[in-house]
Symmetry: C2
Subunit: 470 residues, 2 copies
């Protein structure tokens, strides 16, 4: 293996492998180091297996509710092990694909644990021994790890990652943490007949999402049978007769199993030793070019964000490579892109899609906004498939009338993210955005209806609904 | 009822009711006449009931294939009558909603058959007798009707509309006509176990859609068991022992029932008598403002297109009203919008989404283009749900690199129409369009991957696939 590289990327998750491929495409000589499996948390223990499992649970729900649509099923059952097999098959297919992809792109991959020796030197511990290599620039993409709250050693507690690979289903769980992955796990286990309590310390689940959307989802999860407890801080998990007891100021919650879905901790251990600035919560501090306090070292993905998104990390991988290309050709770095618009999806049922500023964020910064809503129950495409839960909420800046946030709760809305991201990124006015004709019947009409309402021309609603109730 | 109106709209389908609501919103005094049920073909006998039935068939398919996802169903059956009930429930909900909507918007509705007496006078025959009213402008939105090929009187032949309301399912059908509704009906009946032959006169099904997409869908329909016969012209339908016999130059095709899905004929009878120009195929000739040869009479929707789309008709309704508003305030009509970008969806499985120019259209007009494809089998979101059939095809003008067509074959792709329409309508370059971050994992990433490939930066494929095979 060569000793000197243009770029070394440490960590083969979505952020890291995107950076490695992009670096190669820009003509750089790149080494990608990964200590475990390629694909990182997302592919191996996160988005992908959870999406595959959630799909299995949605098939189960479709089977259970099939009668409504003229399909009669007398005997039916699900097999968690078989769902696990499907999930593993998906993960393996994608992992194999990623290996091939990196080979086709000509990215050299080294399997081994990386240790930063100097700002331009990395020591890899591989099966074949140690090897020290150097590079003109480093991109750190070591990701994040699950965290747990204090718990007694014998308490049945697992992390959000482990929850995806349970050998068998418990009768009851407490999910501690109402962020995206906590909500998805709560939905998944409840859909499969497990008694679920979802505990969130803050006043709303999905704390970064628009309040109305989060409240709408909470009501929907409760209707589905989940015990959702907000403003409830889990302080400790103890054990009693093989069960887990979640201690809160409002009393104890008992279950067979406790799942910690408390957000994630950046894997930044040891980085400060070579002079990289780390914030108190453990995340690596970067500028608009993903540059750390060491000018030739860049950091991307969960290492910067903790609980970031895969697509946000991929974007940062691209951004870091762009900066390195400029730097290596001795150009002065131009001001970076403005804050990117990163969509957030929650794959429960109903789903959440959230892009741009929320009503609460606007209030906080004193920005005057206009808000409109369109309920799915007024839309043909939603009525035709019997899924009318939820609504579209569009937020525009009052002065300019430009759309700066779109937040959606509803069945199958995650695939609307491209349309929503384009609209918010380009800060279109409603008049501009409605010029694109949407297919009838389709969910996209729901967005158009909200935009029309904002332009004062609601079509399939007579008035703007006051709140996101439906 | 008032005798004099600003605008009379004839026909309460999507084009007509949109025009009526918009006219009202622009402060015009508007009368909407409908001889049958509000909602037109789309709501009562077209898009909506077919979408609801197709959803039932998709539930059935999910139940049949549930084992793959760890869900075991020992006994299952479907009941066509119950599927019909669901469909009727959907239609009735939407019909009731539309009535309320028009009332809330303050649109006066008259139920009765309209006859144009003079360019500004309409005679309505209602239950309570005749009534003649006049208006400053007329908007004609009388829609279209199914057509049949010559058939013996006793032959079991029905139209595409009637096929949605069959009292019971036949064992075998021949669907004559491979346009969108023919393909959807063929898919629907095949999914429910009916032996289906799909007959299309032209060399490809979906003749207006990109050839690769149409060929990909054909292969997929064949794999699902449909006998697809292109370049086969049905000339006559005869009867034999209760069965229908479709006569073609390539031989006879026998089935219990023959469904004619041959496109539609504009309901333009009698319009030429008051001086409105009609083209030889029966469609009303209009300019870019939907204005007919009589300056105060406008025509929209299927009356202009025959087999148009609901959303295209709704757009035309808005356009006609805009022109009337300008006209009534004595402004000179500005040049109309450029040709609108109207998405086309086919709700089979896989689905088709087609927006903008096709490769064949570009060739015909001698436009140099660049083409890229991205197969769903390379995308995590598609692999996670086990639906990897199909691909995304993006077409850009070679000179300007602007995206002028996006054509997609795949599972659940119809809801990508907003993103695709915005991109094509704004003629974004790939570099502009990829700036919007797409959620991972989601189908929207497939569009981004194709755009990246066009910009020379494919991420999850190493090379551009040569053809839409997968």
């Amino acid at each position: 293996m060569e000793k000197h590289w243009d770029v070394i990327v440490i960590g083969g998750g979505p952020a890291g492998y995107t950076a490695a491929i992009r670096a190669k495409q820009h003509g750089l000589n790149v080494l990608l180091g990964e200590k475990e499996e390629l694909g990182g948390t997302c592919l191996n223990r996160g988005c992908i297996p959870s999406k595959a499992l959630i799909h299995c649970a949605k098939v189960w729900q479709t089977v259970k509710n099939a009668q409504r649509f003229g399909v009669f099923v007398s005997e039916h059952q699900f097999n968690w092990e078989e769902m696990q097999k499907w999930t593993q098959q998906v993960v393996q297919t994608l992992r194999r694909g990623l290996q091939l992809l990196l080979r086709h792109h000509g990215v050299t991959v080294i399997k081994g644990e990386a240790k930063l020796v100097e700002p331009d030197k990395v020591k890899f511990e591989t099966e074949k021994g140690e090897s020290t290599v150097s590079a003109k620039a480093l991109i750190l993409a070591m990701g994040s790890s699950s965290v747990k709250i204090p718990c007694e050693p014998e308490a049945p507690v697992i992390t959000e990652e482990q929850a995806l690979f349970l050998p068998s289903l418990p009768d009851s769980v407490v999910v501690v943490g109402g962020g995206a992955s906590g909500v998805e796990l709560a939905w998944l286990f409840n859909a499969l007949g497990v008694k679920v309590t979802l505990v969130e310390m803050l006043p709303q689940i999905l704390p970064t999402v628009d309040v109305e959307i989060a409240e709408g989802l909470k009501r929907s999860l409760e209707r589905q049978g989940i015990d959702v407890r907000t403003e409830t801080k889990a302080e400790k998990i103890s054990a009693q007769k093989g069960k887990g007891i979640v201690q809160t100021k409002k009393g104890q919650i008992e279950a067979d199993l406790v799942i910690c879905a408390l957000g994630r901790k950046p894997n930044s251990e040891g980085l400060s030793e070579i002079g990289i600035q780390i914030s108190p919560n453990g995340s690596v501090i970067v500028n608009e070019w993903q540059q750390t306090s060491l000018p030739s070292v860049f950091a991307i993905g969960d290492l910067v964000h903790g609980s970031g998104t895969a697509h946000g990390g991929m974007f940062e991988g691209e951004r870091a490579v762009k900066a390195i290309v400029e730097k290596l050709s001795s150009k002065t770095l131009q001001r970076g892109d403005t804050k990117p618009v990163v969509p957030i999806c929650v794959y429960s049922e109903p789903q959440v899609l959230s892009v741009g500023i929320t009503e609460q964020e606007a209030e906080k910064i004193g920005l005057e906004i206009e808000v409109v809503r369109f309920p799915w129950r007024a839309l043909g495409a939603a009525i035709a498939v019997g899924e009318v839960d939820g609504f579209v909420k569009v937020i525009a800046e009052a002065k300019t009338k430009r759309v700066i946030g779109i937040h959606i709760l509803g069945h199958d809305v995650s695939n609307l993210n491209g349309e929503v991201s384009l609209t918010v990124m380009m800060e279109m006015t409603p008049q501009e955005a409605v010029k694109a004709i949407r297919q009838h019947p389709s969910l996209n009409e729901g967005i158009k209806e909200a935009l029309w309402a904002m332009a004062g021309l609601p079509l399939h609603i007579a008035k703007r609904p006051e709140r996101g109730r439906w």
